[in-house]
């Protein structure tokens, strides 16, 4: 039933800083099934953003293998990946609807269908009223929702999210987590979600990949077996606590006195 859409085996990447070489990511091995939401959690410098950039073709990698797309379906990074960054990165001079359309314009998708799709997506992220507003008229959370709509406009198979709610306050982040749950269910996309927040990772992820910094390596992958759709109350459950503790352990945080 399920198809593997992302398969990473022993993926490693080096950066050179002056004469020194150091590992940005090493030995990342994970399989992601179609329609999963996989969280990648780790401290700054663990290379979690680097993984997204390798997946999207912005960076090369030195060792390991990377397979994208479902077997026999073909995969085109340009069309099949949507990217959401920590900052909304909306174009100040474009109205929200036009911002959502940007990838469609770059890819040369038919204009009329794209506009309809953009309206639908704005409806999905709850911004229909703001289609004709400029970005500065929106709050940070609303801007980020617009950038999620933008990432979906060309109907990509995989959405990469690089700490998308990292710039929001704690309450808005909770709200956006629930929103993302809903958007993920409605859009049926495969999502890779990078965060440094363990609670967020457990709450959102069907799997959580745990990365450590110095040395940058993958400490493990956890399957998160919590009922869908996730509700905020889950955070108070014992199971949720156990998963969090396991991640603390993998990160070595439980050994700090």
């Amino acid at each position: 039933m399920a198809n593997t859409i992302i398969s990473l085996k022993g993926l490693s990447k080096e950066f050179t800083k002056g004469k020194e070489k150091f590992l940005a990511v090493s030995n990342v091995t994970i399989d992601v099934e179609e329609g999963e939401l996989v969280a990648i959690v780790g401290p700054s410098g663990c290379g979690k953003s680097t993984i997204l950039k390798i997946l999207s073709g912005l960076y090369d990698y030195e060792a390991g293998t990377m397979e994208l797309g479902i077997e026999g379906e073909g995969f085109d990074t340009g069309r099949d990946i949507g990217f959401v960054f920590q900052q909304p990165l909306l174009l100040k001079w474009r109205k929200i609807l036009e911002n959502v359309l940007l990838p469609a314009e770059i890819l040369g998708l038919p204009a009329k269908e794209s506009r309809e799709r953009a309206s639908d997506l704005l409806h999905m992220v709850g911004l229909t009223e703001f289609a004709d507003a400029y970005p500065y008229q929106l709050s940070g959370g609303m801007q980020q929702r617009a950038s999620i709509a933008r990432a979906l406009i060309h109907d990509p198979k995989i959405i990469l999210m690089d700490e998308p709610f990292g710039a929001l306050d704690a309450l808005n982040r909770e709200k956006m987590n629930l929103e993302l749950m809903r958007i993920w269910k409605e859009s049926n996309k495969t999502i890779l979600f990078v965060t440094h927040d363990i609670q967020e990772a457990v709450f959102l992820g069907t799997q959580v990949a745990v990365l450590t910094a110095s040395p940058a390596r993958m400490a493990g992958v956890l399957d998160i077996d919590l009922p869908q759709p996730r509700k905020l109350g889950l955070r108070a459950t014992e199971k949720f606590g156990t998963y969090s503790k396991d991640i603390y352990h993998l990160l070595g945080l439980d050994q700090i006195q």
Partner: protein, 273 residues
């Protein structure tokens, strides 16, 4: 920002009241600068009246105004000559400056060859170059415009280049993931991003074009307000110098206002406050 339309619930009379209120708040906003201006003119007038200042040192405000209505100065022709040089120099600076800014960003070897020369050129006092242009190009409006362009084009080049480069790197990554062509990145991201910077440069350039046009007329023209000032200086006709200065500042204000107004239309997202 909520988009509730409350205007329908408000009766006509209070709508008028609101218009009056905004009008008053605008007047209140500009009142201090207006009063300061009036006070300066009043002090000036009193100083001349009771301070026994000779009129070739400081003419009374009234005399300056009277000179402006003296047809023998051919104000309108002289104003047009300066305005023509100034607007011509501004437009040339705009076209030349934006083109050069784009080229410098487009091609890194151009940046390394052209930019250092421009920066060195910009350190020169352009006024000191004016006699050279007279030698090379002779008298008249043409050399005058060239002189004004050398004064006014630099901020446009620099601001265009900065505006085109100052793009969030992640935005470029986003475009690159989508495999945007360089032209798409330029047209959809870099160029619109540069507009507020370009306009800031154009505003500087507008004031500097006026300076340049006057400098040009000092050395290279028999017509225009700059030439009138030189003539007034020789004949100790101080009132005509003051009158010329008033007209020059009005011309500068006019050009600046046109640029600021165009910005409101072309880059409205930047002028929101």
């Amino acid at each position: 920002m909520t988009k509730t339309d409350v205007s329908q619930e408000i009766p006509e009379s209070s709508k008028l009241q609101r218009v009056m209120e905004t009008a008053w708040s605008k007047i209140a906003y500009y009142l201090p600068s207006f009063l300061t201006f009036v006070a300066i003119v009043a002090i000036w007038d009193l100083a001349v009246r009771f301070g026994e200042i000779k009129s070739y040192i400081l003419p009374a405000p009234k005399d300056v105004i009277l000179v402006m209505f003296d047809p023998s100065y051919h104000w309108w022709e002289n104003f047009l000559a300066t305005a023509y040089a100034c607007v011509g120099a501004f437009l040339a600076s705009m076209v030349f400056g934006i083109l050069l800014g784009v080229l410098v960003v487009w091609n890194s070897s151009l940046e390394r060859t052209v930019m250092p020369i421009l920066v060195v050129f910009n350190t020169l006092p352009k006024v000191a170059l004016a006699p050279l242009f007279v030698i090379w190009l002779g008298y008249g409006i043409g050399p005058n415009i060239v002189i004004a362009v050398t004064v006014a084009f630099f901020p446009v080049v620099i601001n265009t280049a900065v505006g085109l480069t100052n793009v969030e790197p992640e935005l470029l990554q986003l475009a690159r993931v989508l495999r945007a062509t360089n032209f798409q990145i330029f047209a959809k991201i870099r160029f619109p991003n540069s507009l507020p910077y370009v306009f800031a440069g154009l505003k500087m350039s507008a004031s500097m074009a006026v300076v340049g046009a006057i400098v040009g007329e000092f050395v290279a023209s028999e017509r225009g307000l700059g030439a009138l000032i030189i003539a007034g200086g020789v004949t100790l006709d101080t009132a005509s110098i003051f009158a010329s200065l008033v007209i020059i500042s009005l011309l500068g204000l006019l050009v600046y206002t046109i640029v600021a107004f165009s910005e409101r239309i072309i880059a409205p997202w930047n002028v929101r406050e």
